[in-house]
């Protein structure tokens, strides 16, 4: 009778251990899926970061020359001359992207720096917000599958 009881206890212990291992394994799989199906990315284009919407410090109306600008920022995206006046355009674009399981979020922002010169001397510097974007997406096929 005692022997039988001991055997039952041993069997229960083995079962408990096996159960614990299974639960742990399931948790590990869940963590693995969540970690490996998430991601993030960050990218930017443009020779000057305009996201703070402040004009670069070295730009001063009446003193800064085209040469100063070319030296400090680099070749502009756009350039145009008309008589004594000329204009430069610099673009700045930032993008953040996140995805988790079946959800995606994308945020974009774009700014533009306009510089106007008169006889190669800076006359006006202005930053404009050119555009922005926000996108969130939940995979529709997955929702259909879940609904079924």
């Amino acid at each position: 009778m005692l022997l039988q009881l001991q055997t039952i206890q041993e069997q229960e212990e083995v079962r408990d251990k096996s159960m614990f291992k299974s639960v742990l394994f399931l948790w590990l799989i869940c963590i693995f899926i969540v970690v490996f199906s998430s991601g993030c990315a960050k990218s930017s284009t443009g020779k000057v970061d305009l996201s703070s919407r402040t004009v670069p410090g070295f730009l001063r109306s009446g003193t800064t020359t085209i040469e100063d600008v070319l030296e400090n920022i680099g070749e502009p995206f756009g350039y145009r001359e008309q008589g004594n006046r000329s204009a430069m355009i610099y673009l700045s674009f930032q993008e953040d992207y996140f995805n988790l399981l079946f959800t995606q979020i994308r945020m974009e922002e774009s700014h533009r720096l306009d510089l106007v010169f008169n006889k190669d001397i800076l006359e006006k510097a202005e930053i404009k917000k050119e555009g922005w974007g926000f996108g969130a997406n939940i995979d529709p096929q997955l929702i259909q599958l879940l609904a079924q």
């Binding site: 490996f36 998430s38 990315a41 960050k42 930017s44 284009t45 020779k47 085209i66 070749e75 995805n99």
Partner: protein, 126 residues
């Protein structure tokens, strides 16, 4: 049993891993200014013959300027990067008088490629 676990682990890693390299442009930014270009010697004709038509050809502040761009995107396993550069050449009397490489953009992605800026996708520095 041990072998099955190893095989499963390797299979999962292989399924999750991937890699891609894409490059766009007529010069290689990581190699620096093309060695045939010598300041004060190389002519516009030589540049055009060797590199081809530039992306931008204009006069900036009275100086002839040629711009070639190069973009490169790498993605390996879990991490991706993007970098854009351009080669700016200034000419005087059809001779190269200044060369420089300027960075136009960069990006990174963890578990996701920095896709929007990769060559051939919707947004580029120019």
């Amino acid at each position: 049993m041990r072998n099955i676990k190893i095989i499963t682990a390797v299979a999962i890693i292989l399924m999750l891993s991937s890699c891609s390299i894409s490059t766009f442009g007529k010069f290689q930014a990581d190699e620096g200014v093309p060695p045939f270009i010598q300041v004060g010697k190389t002519t516009r004709t030589e540049v055009l013959e060797t590199l081809g038509e530039p992306l931008v050809h204009r006069i900036v502040a009275g100086r002839e300027t040629l711009i070639y761009n190069h973009e490169r995107g790498d993605y390996f396993f879990l991490y991706g990067t993007y970098e854009g550069n351009e080669l700016v050449l200034r000419l005087k009397n059809q001779i190269v008088i200044e060369t420089k490489i300027e960075k136009t953009g960069s990006g990174w992605g963890f578990f996701a490629p920095a896709t929007s800026n990769n060559p051939g996708t919707r947004r580029s520095a120019r």
